[in-house]
């Protein structure tokens, strides 16, 4: 404040001295007093334009008249004037100087004020645009803070409301003035709870607190440095901006709630579908099992040995099929509920394949299973039972979807830093149109399965989900001349051999 005053005093004095010098020059050049009066009036005008308070032009006017009298009216260098009407001249000179000065000052203030209004209106307008375009919650906070700072050119703090509580203050300006965060937080809390604005008493770090409130809900509290009071127009603009800010937050909140509801509805739908499919597909084998068993109980003596054996076998087959389905279902529900926690360990890929082949061997007696020799031992970090399930499912599919007598080839390859298992069959293969769909949940292809059993459509879905959870990929391609090739690719582990034996003695 004081610096500003000093500067303006210097300016006034400077201008006055300039005017005086010029007048002296005019005098020596023989110009009339009228010219000199004009010069001083000009001086006062310049003073009011370059200073911010009327007092400068007032003093300037008075001093101009006095000095004019002293220096330029005869007798020179005295305060008396011989000329008739000199007092009137002095008065008119003073009034002219002062009034033009005042008008100049007022004009300047007006121009400044209009420019500021226009600027604030512009900021408000562009805030509306920016806030509606903000990508997410963070962007809204950030934009709002920037715009408020831009509007008012002073430091602010924002306390966002998260989960119905006030989060610590952020988005402060770069030149953060000293304010006490704890005290400010308490005040902000009061503001949030009452929904009304309040203010600290004036002093260092004093803030005014405004709630961001729409439809009775508070989204945050804005604290603005209050040591320089806001002008009425600034206050109005600020409230408009805060209103837009709050509205943007509300819109974002609504959009998010809508999305959550939609996701919930969708997962409920999936769950309903799953239950429907399960009950349908489990009932079939259960019907045949209970039916055959009750037949055997009731009519044990009527059936001949061959018939009975056939019924027993059907019961056994159905039970085994149920077992596979239930296992797959359990895995699928684990994935859906997000309980895909992998318990990984380093395993040899060939061990995994061995186990899968053992599981399938019984079902594959009509097929030719060829295991190609592997070139090197490959270690992978996997959850062993899950990965065995993947290979088992692939082998099961190869058996199911190719006719009796078909050849199924299992190959293990090392490919850079990945390990690959390739399972190929020479059955009818998979048409290109279906290749992308086969990994979908519950997708059952058009091909008829050898033993006429409908599958649940989960096998490949699980293979993909499990493989990808391990950071791997699974792909399908055509085999030549016919058939399909499924390739599972997994990251390979470094083999770090511990070559030190514990006690060589034993």
């Amino acid at each position: 404040m004081k610096r500003k005053n000093l500067l303006e005093i210097e300016k006034s004095v400077g201008i006055f001295l300039g005017a005086t010098l010029l007048s002296m020059a005019f005098y020596h050049l023989g110009f009339t007093n009228a010219n000199i009066i004009m010069v001083y009036i000009l001086g006062v005008l310049l003073t009011s334009i370059s200073t911010s308070r009327q007092i400068y032009s007032l003093i300037s006017s008075i001093v101009s008249v006095v000095v004019f009298n002293f220096l330029f009216t005869s007798p020179r260098y005295s305060f008396t004037a011989y000329e008739t009407g000199a007092p009137v001249t002095f008065l008119v000179m003073f009034l002219t100087a002062y009034i033009t000065g005042s008008f100049a000052l007022r004009y300047k203030e007006q121009a400044f004020s209009s420019a500021k209004s226009a600027f604030m209106a512009q900021v408000l307008f562009e805030s509306g645009q920016l806030l509606s375009k903000a990508a997410d919650r963070e962007a809204i906070w950030h934009t709002g803070a920037t715009q408020i700072r831009k509007l008012l050119a002073r430091d602010i703090v924002i306390w966002p409301v998260e989960a119905d509580a006030l989060a610590p203050g952020r988005y402060e300006g770069k030149n953060v003035r000293s304010y006490d965060p704890d005290h400010a937080m308490k005040q902000a809390l009061v503001c949030m709870q009452t929904g009304l604005s309040c203010a600290d008493d004036a002093g260092p770090g004093a803030l005014a607190y405004y709630p961001l409130r729409v439809q009775g809900r508070t989204y945050g509290v804005v604290g603005i440095d209050r040591n320089e009071p806001l002008e009425p127009e600034e206050q109005r603009m600020l409230l408009s901006l805060l209103g837009e800010f709050a509205l943007a937050l509300e819109n974002e909140q609504n959009a998010r709630e809508k999305e959550t509801a939609a996701i919930l509805a969708q997962s409920e739908q999936l769950r309903a579908n799953l239950l429907r499919t399960i009950s349908h597909d489990l009932r079939t084998p259960l019907t045949t099992i209970s039916g055959n068993a009750s037949n055997l109980i009731a009519n044990a003596d009527c059936f001949d040995r061959e018939t009975k054996l056939a019924l027993y076998t059907d019961i056994y087959d159905d039970a085994m099929w149920l077992k596979t389905i239930v296992e797959n279902l359990l895995y699928a529900t684990r994935i859906e509920e997000g309980h895909m926690s992998l318990k990984t360990s380093e395993e040899l890929l060939s061990d995994i394949v061995d186990e899968a082949v053992a599981h399938v061997a019984r079902r594959a007696d009509e097929h030719q299973l060829d295991r190609l020799p592997e070139d090197t031992l490959m270690l992978v970090r996997v959850d062993p039972s899950l990965m065995v399930q993947v290979i088992t499912n692939l082998l099961d599919n190869a058996v199911k979807y190719s006719p009796a007598g078909s050849r199924i080839v299992i190959a293990l390859k090392a490919c850079g830093d990945t390990a690959q298992v390739q399972i190929s069959d020479n059955g009818p293969g998979i048409p290109d149109a279906e290749k992308s769909k086969i990994f979908d949940k519950f997708y059952r292809g058009g091909n008829r399965i050898a033993d006429n059993r409908r599958s649940l459509g989960l096998g490949l879905y699980l293979c993909k989900a499990i493989t990808e959870a391990h950071g791997g990929t699974i792909t399908v391609a055509d085999n030549t001349p016919t058939g399909a090739v499924f390739t599972v690719t997994l990251p390979k582990e470094e083999v770090l051999l511990n070559e030190v034996v514990s006690d060589p003695g034993r």
Binding site: L330, S345, E346, E347, L348, S385, V495, V501, P504
Partner: protein, 235 residues
């Protein structure tokens, strides 16, 4: 050896009936218990030759039953687990169980496991010689050499150690932890990878001459050396 006494510990009645029916059909003798406390008492009173223990008992944890019985007896214990996770089987094996079955198991599997354990018992009863023989495999512990079908096996120190650990527990499922601790004396994280690789190389050397595989992999759990019965080639 078939008039064996087997203690069947299973709380689910139908499953218990299934097991006892199977045993009866093969002329095994059996006694039953429906919970952990009864199991321990039965084991103490009747000294069965083998125990089939379900892990999902209502009163005691299966592992606790094993711990109690192991306090005085080395009777072979085969645990039956209904859970797909491996941790309960591993805990049971580490506590002293010999083998495990997973529900639903087939009757064939059950009988096969019983036979394996029977053979192991038979072997244990003429033990502590310096020479181990199992089918075509022969190990001389004193000389630290091994032969397959009269041809000497060239094994690295670690492969030899592995072979011995398995041989000394022939017929029993050994957990990865057990094996790594006995071979390397500690459980360094990458030992699992080492174990896999050494086991694979050992296997290749063993299976080179033989028709059957000596070492059985129990994925996620451990390994077992199979007792090569001269009459049957596979348990």
């Amino acid at each position: 050896m078939k008039s064996f006494l087997i203690l069947v510990v299973e709380d689910d009645a139908p499953v218990r009936t299934l097991i006892t029916t199977t045993l009866k059909a093969r002329d095994y003798r059996y006694i039953t218990a429906g919970n952990g406390e009864a199991a321990v008492m039965q084991a103490a009173s009747y000294a069965p030759d083998m125990i089939l223990l379900d892990l999902g008992l209502p009163d005691l944890d299966g592992v606790e039953v094993i711990r109690r019985i192991r306090a005085w007896s080395n009777v072979p214990i085969i645990v039956i687990s209904a859970r797909s996770e491996d941790s309960d089987k591993i805990d049971a094996l580490d506590e002293g169980a010999d083998d495990y079955l997973v529900k639903p198991f087939s009757v064939d599997e059950l009988l096969a496991r019983l036979r394996v354990t029977q053979r192991r018992l038979a072997l244990m009863q003429g033990q502590q010689s310096a020479v181990f023989e199992n089918g075509d495999l022969k190990i001389d512990y004193a000389m630290r050499r091994a032969w397959l079908k009269e041809e000497e096996l060239h094994l690295t120190p670690i492969e030899y150690k592995l072979l011995c650990v398995l041989a000394q527990n022939v017929g029993k499922v050994l957990t990865h932890k057990y094996i790594t601790q006995h071979v390397w004396g500690s459980s360094w994280e990458h030992d699992t990878g080492s174990l896999r690789v050494y086991m694979a190389t050992l296997r290749r050397k063993l299976d080179a001459g033989a028709g059957q595989s000596f070492i059985q992999t129990h994925i996620g759990v451990g390994y077992r050396m199979l007792r090569m019965d001269p009459e049957h080639s596979e348990p």
